[in-house]
Symmetry: C2
Subunit: 217 residues, 2 copies
Amino acid sequence: MSEERKISMAVIRRLPRYYRYLGELIDNDISRISSRELSERMKVTASQIRQDLNNFGGFGQQGYGYNVEYLHAEIGKILGLDKTHKMIIVGAGNLGQALANYQSFEKRGFKLIGIFDVNPRLIGMTIRGIEVYDIDVMEKFVKEQEVDIAMLTMPKENVRETANNLAEWGIKGLWNFSPVDLYLPKHVQVENVHLSHGLMTLAYKIKDQSLTENEED
Amino acid sequence: MSEERKISMAVIRRLPRYYRYLGELIDNDISRISSRELSERMKVTASQIRQDLNNFGGFGQQGYGYNVEYLHAEIGKILGLDKTHKMIIVGAGNLGQALANYQSFEKRGFKLIGIFDVNPRLIGMTIRGIEVYDIDVMEKFVKEQEVDIAMLTMPKENVRETANNLAEWGIKGLWNFSPVDLYLPKHVQVENVHLSHGLMTLAYKIKDQSLTENEED
């Protein structure tokens, strides 16, 4: 039986941001912080911070604040960042290459071990020392290396078939960048990223802002 | 005075997904759809769909369903996609190049008109016919072209200064990919994208899933 209570996904989705801010505090040699100070930095109310962190038993002490390093490590454990995740990228185009170059993933235990593509011009090249392999050897690789996560940065047309194959080969998580929502068997977790959604939301905010300005005229 | 009621950001953030699904229906020559059918496709409850779309006066008719093209156009208008947004990219590295190649942005009225970098090896190259300029000419460009949106795909170190400059030069929105949260004057809207957050959330889901499996043993 797990000791952790079930936490809402809304809280979970806020944890990476805490984790990132706490990591920055550590980099700046700040060893403790009050919820008020953290609130000012993160532009979140102090009560929201206390509520969120109380989900995990609360790490703060009255009049002392939070122990930054401890809190950072605990949130890391909750997110599963205390273990190493073996990762591959499927699709070595621009986005795949960009993601292959993100060194911050490595720092958080996400270890990129292979990149796959169908394009003969890309196969054999290396990015940060990681090779681009022919997609034909992906099944063998995923099974032998027990890959945990695949980032899907391939064309939309083949993404469903690839995702189903990866699920069958034992992958645990898919980070999907193609503009298609994937739904898979329950043993495979999926994060669908839709970059264009952010851009559309930004367009709304811009429009809304101009509406407000007009209203104020 | 605006005719539109104030809509919660939670609803707004769901609209791009409706917009995308409705766009796919149009591509497949489907001209009307019931909330039940849309619900099955989008894996959202039909009542959520009705509630969300009721925010805009409700476009559905009892027993007829939604007029796909009309609904798509209306949501587009709400998001501000019926107008053209002039866009630049600041940072022509891997991610900047990847985003420059997203043709779906163009389809939604986001028109990339320039890319900027400090790297002499990148300056002068073109991506889909769009030139990479020296960042030194960015001020003149942004003011003369009345650029609406800048995508920030540059190193973290300079992003705050660049963002402040762009705000001063009249930019309306920033789409920020650097791992720093930007806060700007109210007339500049910001969408901060933190790719690593999605990966951390995925790690949590994987861990949570294994916990559940263990509990079932």
